[in-house]
Amino acid sequence: MSKNKELGSPYIEKTHFWGRIFSVIAFIILLSVPTMITVHYDAHPTFHQIFDGFVSVALIFWTAAILEIIVYAPMLGTGASYLSFVTGNTTNLKLPCVLNAREIAKPKPGTDEDEIVSTIAVATSTIVTTIILAIGVLALTPILPKITAKGSVFAPAFNQVLPALFGALGAGYFAKHWRISFVPILTAVICLLFNGNLGTGTLIPICVVVSILGAYVMYISGFLTGGVKPENPLKKKK
């Protein structure tokens, strides 16, 4: 088992190199989609038609993107971040998948093992999602609207994917870390009672920050270490 705990081990450094190369290719491919549509159909929307739509989207989603990268990238790991931010569905699929994989392989945080487990989890998830979407589009398109349509027996199950997913994921964490779980859950509930439509994009950073602060206070007060007050890790660094 590797004990490589350096940030930026040679393997991770190389992952950054490859990740950047793939990001540049993804950037070109992503832009080529509307470009090809514009050229092929000789359909040229005006600058204002694109810009007006873009501004209202960018205000919300570019801000969310910055927050997402700050909050999720450290959780995902290097290779998984490069993969996940290219393929999307980070909060509802890739991140849960990484948490699940870590529960199984139990690597030490910050090691090469941790990095390998998260990369394999996101890569596998990406491949499976891509295949399911492709099969779905090609074969199931005529049936799928019936399965997911209101009134179908299966519709409620698909409406409840997130509670099912995060219930299963959360259970292990809550059982192991019940002391630090109360504060963020209570925070989420209070925020939602004030504004029930608060998107998870806003709620997640709030809960993550509160959870970290709560855990930090509990840690330095000795609540997590059986009453023994440990040295303040932040002060020690100075």
């Binding site: 940030l7 990740g19 993804a26 491919i29 080529s32 989609v33 509307p34 549509i37 159909y41 929307p45 038609q49 694109i50 739509g53 873009f54 700050i70 909050v71 450290p74 993969l83 931010f85 290219v86 999307g88 909060t91 998948c97 948490l99 699940n100 199984i104 392989a105 910050g110 093992e113 390998i116 394999i120 890569a123 990406t126 491949i127 499976v128 979407l133 799928l144 027996v153 409620p156 698909f158 409406n159 997130l162 509670p163 099912a164 997913l165 995060f166 299963a168 259970a171 809550f174 779980s181 509930v189 939602l192 998870t200 709620l203 997640i204 809960c207 959870s211 970290i212 840690y219 932040l234």
Partner: protein, 271 residues
Amino acid sequence: MDFKENGFMYGIAVMVIVFVLAQAFFFLIRAWRRGKEIGMSTSTLKNVVTSSALFTIAPAIAIMATVVVLSSSLGIVLPWIRLTVVGNLQYEATAAQSAMEAFKGGETAVAFGQEITDPTVFAAVAWVMTLGVIIYLILVPLFLKTVQNKVGKVTGNGDGNNKFGDIISAATFIGLIAAFIGNALVGKAATIVKNGKTEATGMGAGVMSVAVLITSVVTLLVLQKLCKKFGWEKFEPFVMPLSMFAGMGMAILLYTVLPESISLYEWRPVA
């Protein structure tokens, strides 16, 4: 043939899919080789792959359903491409809607939910959807390293101060999970504006979400206990996905057994 679903559009989709698969396989093989180099066992690596694949099935089908929702306006291919590269329903629907609103008052104005018949509107929608997410592909290669190093220093992962790092790492995940648990307990359904009317895209918290949440939590805890007690190591990768399916199964059971007024009851329905 509909210009939104012709051979040309499928050709673009194939190009995108080949790239996404190539990237995923490249990282997968690289990580697997490195894992073997540092002495990780084949069974651990296989377990990660199996469990991740199983874990992905239900959310991927839910994503597929969002492709269908979007296809009412955009045809099936563009949503397919968009949800393969940096996508999610809330974003794609909002982006499509914003792009269509820019055509308001024109001859071809459409609202989300109506079929687009003008290639110019279609091209505008494709541009807005793309430009709205391109930021990830600019920020990640430029700043990922800095972000990870800064956070690593704070949590002490870099200097062997493990206990604190582990607690902060767990607290971060719990914070993320708490947001979704909160939504399942008291959240309202997400909405989109379709044909000028506000519509719920799913279900808010209520009888169903709380029952599903409790089922998946209890199933996981019970299965984990059984695995520990009887040493079912091979069964462990299936525990999490099975608990998730148990939760979804509970939704179907409640819907089938109880009257809709109870099973679909939401604490705070969208008016």
